[in-house]
């Protein structure tokens, strides 16, 4: 090859000349030495190390994530599809790659395009885990103002935003949920194709869903020609839908740009989960309140027959399984809305209020105290859905000398950090209302109480995910509080016995639920089952039906995943 182009910085020469001529502004010997040491610390002496690993604080990437980052940079040259199964940390992998390029000065600006629901999460993850000054894009003027933006892809592809983006050169583009780019006729695909970019990461757990041509389109965004031309591709590789003809060859080509880790791959494993349902018998006043509320809801339902209007009452039904305090708030609000014009409470409301007053202690709290004392000094995280219940629990625990701290989504960042710190260093119990969201990683704790059960399997999984995650060294123990002869008992039976939600890692839960929840959400279905059934046997029967649907969907999703692996890897590694 001819000589390598060399660019010499010469802007400094006049500065030196000025100093010589005017004999001022000289630095000291110590400052000169400090400057060189600083430059030595910043300089990166080899092409193929991962320097970002030494600059992280507060979390340690897993071995498979580090491998992915290395492979993306050194083999795939910064243009790749990251296709790990759900939950293996594609965000971390992308973050590592971005950080490494950033430290080496190869990336000075980047755009991260994600579904709008994930914008904040990505922004937080990048700034907290990687100290990358990422901003969530909200206003049009932000495009030109910030170097690292996280934006919703649906916003970005529309005017006026689109024009701003197409005007710029991005050192790196990251697209999350990139299976939305499978069809080259869509606006999404064409938009990403048009953006001027150096490096490109496409993140998706499902690179192939239906047709092999989807893969062709994704690969084309990265490296047009890697799989040949569209028509050749069809002739050479695709015999029929989902069946690759020239498999071995195609796989080889695809793996030059795609990385996929699976849960069952050797070095990715988690500790065990032990699940215990703790039956709780309601006291007489609690039972009366439960029956009263249930009756009230049933009556309303039979009057209106409209499931949609029932959703506000659904809250009440859930709350009565949690605590009297939770019920009180909703009841109070409900009657403020509906009966603000009348001077007196209607008889049925008066009756409920009366029942509420009779409840003076909580059977669940008693059980919780007993359990926490037995587990002492081990730490326990307790989840409840309701703020009123949370406050009551913290209060009651304090009364018997158990140090508990609250945690909820509404806390400011600082307060969240502070509460986590207290829990880690001093308190025995964390009483949390929020499982989703970041900043709540509880690997140092392995006992979890579900004080009440969310009517949403995703939320349950999020709760478990807070303590049962990579980095957890102990087996995790989950205690489900189930008030006997209530809807809660049925739900726990369904989630625990019928779909084994607590014991198994259902990585594709979200995908399965989307298929099952076509008509109604799980929450609505449960409500329906409850209101329309004459007795417990019927409820169980309907729940069994739901779980059968779930198992079918699960089988379908598993089959799709296997199909994917067959396409991508040739055989199913068990």
């Amino acid at each position: 090859m001819k000589s390598i182009p060399i660019r010499m910085d010469r802007t400094w020469i006049s500065e030196l000349q000025n100093r010589v001529e005017q004999d001022t502004l000289w630095s000291s010997w110590e400052a000169f030495q400090l400057a060189i040491e600083a430059a030595e610390a910043e300089s990166i002496p080899s092409f193929d190390s991962l320097v970002c690993l030494k600059q992280l604080y507060g979390f340690e990437p897993l071995p498979h994530q580090i491998e992915v980052a290395k492979k993306v940079i050194h083999q795939m040259r910064g243009r790749a599809i990251l296709a790990d199964e759900v939950g293996l940390g594609k965000t971390i992998e992308a973050g590592l790659v971005l950080k490494e390029y950033l430290l080496r000065g190869l990336v000075k600006n980047a755009l991260i395009l994600v579904p709008s629901s994930l914008v904040l999460q990505w922004t937080r993850e990048l700034s907290q885990k990687f100290q990358i000054p990422a901003m969530a894009q909200k206003k049009e003027w932000m495009w030109d103002k910030y170097d690292f933006l996280v934006a919703s892809i649906d916003t970005a592809k529309r005017e006026p935003h689109r024009a701003h983006i197409l005007n710029k050169h991005y050192d790196m583009i990251i697209v999350d949920e990139a299976h939305k780019l499978k069809n080259r006729k869509t606006q999404n695909w064409q938009f990403i194709n048009q953006v001027k970019k150096k490096y490109l990461l496409l993140l998706t757990a499902t690179p192939v869903q239906n047709e092999m041509s989807e893969l062709f389109n994704l690969v084309t965004l990265l490296k047009p020609g890697q799989l040949g031309k569209q028509n050749d591709f069809k002739q050479e590789y695709v015999a029929g839908k989902r069946l690759a003809k020239n498999e071995e060859q195609l796989r080889k080509e695809v793996h030059r740009v795609l990385i996929r880790n699976k849960r069952r791959d050797g070095d990715i494993h988690l500790t065990k989960r032990m699940v215990k349902t703790i039956p709780i018998t309601l006291s007489a006043p609690e039972r009366a309140l439960y029956n009263g509320i249930s009756q009230f809801i049933r009556t309303r339902y039979h009057q209106e027959k409209d499931l949609k209007n029932m959703l506000s009452l659904l809250v009440l039904q859930k709350e009565v399984c949690s605590s009297r305090d939770a019920v009180f708030h909703t009841l109070f609000k409900l009657f403020q809305q509906h009966e603000k014009n009348s001077q007196y409470l209607s008889p049925e409301v008066a009756h409920l209020t009366h029942l509420l007053k009779q409840v003076t202690s909580s059977s669940k709290v008693k059980t919780a105290i007993q359990l926490i004392q037995e587990l002492s000094p081990e730490k326990v995280v307790l989840f409840t859905e309701y703020r009123a219940t949370q406050e009551m629990i913290v209060r009651e625990l304090a009364q018997v000398g158990i140090y508990a701290v609250p945690f909820r989504g509404g806390f400011k960042r600082n307060k969240k950090d502070w509460m986590m710190e207290l829990f880690k260093m001093r308190a025995q119990v964390l009483v949390a209302t929020e499982a989703g969201g970041e900043g709540i990683n509880l690997q140092f704790c392995h006992h979890m109480i579900n004080f009440d059960m969310p009517w949403n399997p995703m939320k349950v999984e999020q709760r478990i995910g807070r303590i049962h995650r990579f980095g957890q060294k102990e087996d995790v123990r989950i205690y489900n509080f189930a008030t006997m002869d209530t809807i809660e008992e049925h739900i726990i039976w369904l989630l625990h016995e019928k779909i084994q939600l607590f014991e198994t890692v259902i990585g594709e839960l979200e995908t399965i639920l989307v298929k099952v929840e076509k008509k109604h959400s799980f929450e609505q279905s449960v409500m329906e089952m409850m209101l329309q059934s004459e007795n417990d046997t019927e409820i169980r029967q309907r729940m069994k039906q739901w779980s059968d649907d779930f198992q079918d969907a699960k089988a379908l999703v598993t089959a799709e995943m296997k199909q994917q692996d067959v396409l991508l890897n040739g055989s199913i590694k068990s």
Binding site: M1, S3, I4, P5, I6, R7, M8, D9, W12, I13, E15, L16, Q17, R19, V20, L25, W26, S27, S28, W29, E30, A31, F32, Q33, L34, A35, I36, E37, A38, A39, E40, A41, I44, P45, S46, F47, D48, C52, K54, Q55, L56, Y57, I73, R77, G78, R79, R104, G105, L106, Q131, P133, Q194, K196, K198, Y199, T220, P224, G225, G228, K229
Partner: protein, 273 residues
């Protein structure tokens, strides 16, 4: 950089930049920043604009820097400073900004006094960061000195003079001579020497990058065989060049005029080491 080095570097930097250390413990220290350092580390240009416009008494901030996160101060909020922390990156940048140009004179050993006047030899030292770039990147620091009277070039100049005591004031009975080379000539000579060095280096990395570049270009020719999508093809081509083309970028770290006594003694001593 481990935490010990982060701490010692930070302390040296702060002290040298005129920040006072208010309190110091093994795991943290609190410092009253100087105005200059506040501007470099806290990134609050509006405050400084306001202070200068309104001509009010500036109040640079107090910072509590923690080096061991497991032992934070209990009486105030501290900020954990580690190698990857944004604040430490700013500190490294500031250190480089504050130590750009020096003019120094070699000091006599302690107690040594001479009434015989003696001339200094002037050397210009340039410290460069050389970056090798394609789709990946690495850096190398290079220090080259030139004798301003003879034009002799010395590689690894900075390590050679590192252990010599320096002062920024011309000592008594010492004088400087007018150098044979002008500043621009000297700089030109050093750049020429550096370029020669770079051209003779192993260039496998660049050849491999070019291979990748050409391979991906050949894929484009397969994908776009005819002229139907010229614009798209051109964009991809530009992107590939942007991504892969091998090049070297040389930036200056700092530069100094060093006045040495007995130059050749020192230099030959170093050569024997």
């Amino acid at each position: 950089m481990d935490q010990l080095k982060v701490k010692s570097f930070t302390k040296r930097y702060l002290t040298h930049q005129g920040c006072s250390i208010i309190e110091e413990f093994p795991s943290f220290l609190t410092t009253q920043l100087s105005i200059e350092v506040d501007k470099d580390l806290l990134n609050r240009p509006y405050y400084w604009m306001y202070v200068e416009r309104m001509q009010i008494q500036p109040q640079p901030a107090t910072l509590c820097l923690v080096f061991d996160p497991d032992q934070p101060p209990t009486h105030r909020n501290g900020e954990y400073l580690f190698f990857g922390a944004p604040r430490f990156r700013m500190l490294l940048k500031s250190a480089q900004k504050q130590g750009r140009f020096v003019r120094l004179y070699q000091e006599e050993p302690n107690g040594f006094r001479s009434n015989i006047s003696q001339a200094y030899d002037q050397w210009l030292c340039l410290n460069f960061k050389v970056s090798y770039l394609c789709d990946v990147k690495k850096d190398r620091l290079v220090s080259i000195g030139i004798h301003m009277h003879s034009g002799e070039i010395k590689d690894h100049f900075y390590p050679t003079i590192q252990s010599i005591p320096w002062t920024s004031k011309l000592p008594a009975h010492r004088f400087t001579q007018t150098p044979q080379l002008t500043l621009m000539e000297a700089i030109g000579e050093i750049e020429y020497a550096l370029q020669e060095q770079l051209q003779n280096e192993d260039r496998t990395w660049a050849e491999e990058a070019l291979e990748r570049l050409n391979f991906e270009r050949s894929l484009l020719d397969i994908y776009y065989p005819d002229n139907s999508q010229q614009e798209e093809k051109k964009q991809r081509e530009t992107e590939i060049i942007w991504q892969y083309h091998p090049r070297i970028e040389v930036t200056i770290l700092n530069a100094g005029l060093f006045h040495l006594l007995n130059t050749y003694k020192i230099m030959s001593h170093y050569d024997k080491m």
